[in-house]
């Protein structure tokens, strides 16, 4: 079987360029698959074959990777991939309600695309913005502190072709454009958006207000106590290392 493919000789050149960033070419595979998505709108069999060819590995090896990571999509994705965090904290703070409302509003289930092909909805795991819960991501841009209403407004605006901005970033680009950035081809939008959202700054604001700061350099003189370091090694939660084998007895 064969699908119409958008992969051009330029795509191949870019795939090779990604591989060339690394001391060993295969390291480029994750970004290469992002690039495939930016061109094909998903990971296609042709895209898998292209990566395999460029890297000199088997298509099965590429497939194994492409199916392991959740950002790689095997069904076509809409212009905007809307992800609602339903991990515990966001879910409790309202993520569940937001997700339900969007499913209803878009008349889709999880990992489905609205009829107009604009919005693909999925629930996602913790996206490292818990202080902005409930969080929604659109094409992996932060949409902080959502409510069901704000989420519906966002998807409606996107479907209507209106400009929508990330709460901590630029105007939303398409999912394919976002995937291109993740492939390591920047889009010049780094300077958009604020340094930090409000929650990121609350502690700093309090410190500023109270005049608190880290000690000045002169005020300190103590150094680490070697004994406590040794104990720290023993205390360190190296369970991951230990779970497999004994720690070397040095």
């Amino acid at each position: 079987m064969s699908h119409p493919t958008q992969l051009t000789s330029e795509t191949y050149a870019e795939l090779r360029a990604i591989a060339a960033r690394y001391p060993e070419a295969r390291s480029g595979l994750l970004p290469m698959l992002h690039l495939v998505q930016s061109v094909e709108g998903r990971v296609t069999p042709e895209g898998i074959e292209a990566c395999a060819e460029v890297l000199g590995i088997s298509a099965a090896e590429v497939s194994g990777v492409a199916t392991f990571y959740t950002m790689y999509k095997r069904k076509p994705v809409g212009d905007y991939l809307v992800g609602v965090c339903t991990n515990t904290l966001c879910a409790v703070m309202g993520g569940d309600q937001i997700f339900e409302r969007l499913k209803e509003h878009l008349d889709v289930g999880n990992d489905e695309t609205s009829e107009d092909g604009k919005i693909t909805l999925e629930h996602i795991e913790c996206n490292a913005a818990c202080d902005y819960a409930p969080v929604m991501m659109v094409n992996w841009e932060f949409m902080d502190n959502q409510t069901p209403e704000s989420a519906v407004r966002t998807v409606d605006d996107l479907r209507a072709g209106k400009d929508v901005h990330s709460t901590r970033g630029p105007r939303l680009c398409t999912w394919k454009q976002a995937e291109r950035v993740l492939a390591g081809f920047p889009d010049d939008l780094a300077d958009e958006g604020p340094s930090a959202g409000p929650a990121s700054l609350v502690g700093l604001g309090i410190a500023r207000e109270k005049g608190w700061s880290a000690p000045s350099t002169e005020a300190s003189g103590r150094t680490g106590d070697p004994d406590s370091l040794t104990e720290a090694v023993e205390d360190a939660d190296t369970s991951r290392a230990e779970s497999e084998t004994k720690v070397d007895d040095k």
Binding site: P23, R26, L29, L30, L55, G64, Y69, T70, N87, T88, L89, A91, V92, G94, D96, E125, C126, N127, A128, A129, C130, D131, A133, P134, M137, W140, F142, S166, P170, V181, L182, P186, A190, D191, S195, A196, P198, L201, V202, G203, L204, G205, I206, A207, K210, S213, A214, P215, A219, S220, G221, T223, G224, S228, L229, A232, A236, D237, S239, T245
Partner: protein, 437 residues
């Protein structure tokens, strides 16, 4: 002398205009530590980091300087530094704002750390799901190259360093350092057998240091201010400062940078208390993989030893706070579903165990089953904890066993009620006061 309650170091420039740019960073004294470092012997930098007492900020708390010292310098292979910017532990949200607001802090740390371990190639592995953060770090690296802080013969020092920004593609397990290396080598992110440890055979089977973003970002401050300055903060075995991330039912969730050893009570006070009219019910000290704690632990010093003594782990200082409107069974079920979703599949206990745990918990949450199921759950946890290949399986058991320990009655209430006695709407940020349970 006394140390202030909050000690902004890493967060200190986040409120500056265009703080992510090289110009703004340098205006605040950025890259001075790099210049100092490049004029210092690499071993002296390792010594300084050892002396500072800095312990890994990614959760495990392994002394950073000691990790660097494990790199066999007589090994002829290239050395690599890999920054673990795959921040994915539920509740953890410190590295992402750091890289968004001040990516140059990280880049400067990367240069100094790479120099110390004699690496000429460093990688920043950022989880893919944070597009704007990827942009900011890409830009910072580009600016650093243009300024001569990266590339050949950095600032005339004779030291060469190339940095590659690598976007991940969606896998919590890649926060585990050997799984991250697999991802960085273009493979399925499944943890590797150890030994060999990455310090001996990591990336491309070469000596490799893998450090968390916050650990690396702390290095310039140590070089700038000295090991003694750093160790003047914190507690006896948990030196320095760290970013504490408050989330959930607290009035002002956000990032609070303070010396290790601060208590949750202090932090909640600073954050304006729990949300109006509600009380703390349970919390995680360092992400969902750290056993739950309760209000009785409000005065536990948030350092490695203190939290450990309380039966949990400091982890990533991801303080997720839940008030009395929250059903602990629902919370735990959702986390368990997360572990099932993120289990890499390599080992049996984690792959099959999380599958089973979810089914058992889901029944309980619906009020089905019996009290025996709680013992079954605990036995399943016992068969996973310490039996799985990596710590993901261990982490999956933490919320379950700790919640049964503290909230057994609430599980039983589900059985007597024949379902969940809580109103999920009451927990939301958009709940009207009247909807509270």
């Amino acid at each position: 002398m006394s140390i202030d309650v909050l000690t902004p170091v890493l967060t200190d420039n986040w409120d500056q205009d265009r703080s992510w740019t090289l110009a703004a960073y340098e205006e605040q004294g950025g890259y001075a530590a790099m210049k100092t470092a490049l004029g210092t012997a690499p071993d002296d930098i390792i010594t300084a980091v050892k002396d500072s007492g800095l312990r890994g900020r990614g959760g495990a708390g392994f002394p950073t300087g000691m990790k660097w010292g494990f790199i066999p310098q007589d090994n002829p292979k290239p050395k690599y530094l890999v920054v673990n910017a795959d921040e994915s532990e539920p509740g953890t949200c410190k590295d992402i704002p750091l890289m968004m607001a001040s990516p140059h802090t990280l880049v400067e740390g990367v240069i100094i750390s790479s120099y110390a371990i004699r690496a000429n190639h460093a990688f920043i592995y950022i989880r893919g799901e944070v597009l704007h953060v990827v942009r900011r770090v890409q830009r910072a690296v580009q600016e650093a190259y243009l300024a001569g802080h990266l590339g050949k013969n950095i600032n005339g020092s004779g030291y060469d360093l190339d940095v590659v920004v690598h976007a991940g593609a969606g896998a919590y397990i890649c926060g585990e350092e050997t799984a991250l290396l697999e991802g960085l080598e273009g493979r399925r992110g499944q943890p590797r057998l150890r030994p060999p440890f990455p310090a001996v055979a990591g990336l491309y089977a070469s000596p490799t240091v893998i450090n968390n973003v916050e650990s690396i970002a702390s290095v310039p401050s140590i070089i700038r201010n000295g090991a003694g300055w750093f160790s003047s903060m914190g507690t006896e075995k948990s030196k320095g400062y760290g970013i504490f991330s408050l989330s959930g039912h607290v009035t002002r969730p956000g990032q609070y940078e303070a010396p290790l050893g601060i208590t949750l009570r202090q932090l909640i006070d600073l954050a304006g208390g729990m949300r109006e009219g509600h009380e703390l019910k349970f919390w995680t000290p360092g992400g969902s993989s750290t056993p739950l704690l309760t209000p009785e632990h409000l005065d536990v010093p948030l350092d490695f030893e203190g939290v450990g003594a309380a039966g949990s782990m400091l982890g990533t200082r991801a303080l997720q706070l839940f008030d009395e409107t929250t059903c602990v069974v629902r919370a735990v079920l959702r986390w368990t579903e997360f572990y099932k979703h993120e289990s890499c599949g390599k080992c049996t206990p984690c792959r099959e165990g999380t599958w089973w745990l979810v089914q058992t918990l889901a029944r309980l949450e619906k009020g089905q089953g019996s009290e025996d199921d709680l013992d079954l759950l605990l036995d399943q946890c016992e068969n996973i904890l310490g039996r799985s290949f990596c710590a993901l399986g261990d982490g999956a058991t933490s919320p379950i066993s700790s919640s049964i320990k503290y909230f057994r009655d609430e599980y039983l209430a589900h059985l007597t009620t024949g379902g969940c006695p809580f109103d999920p709407a009451a927990s939301t940020t958009f709940a009207t006061t009247g909807a509270s349970a």
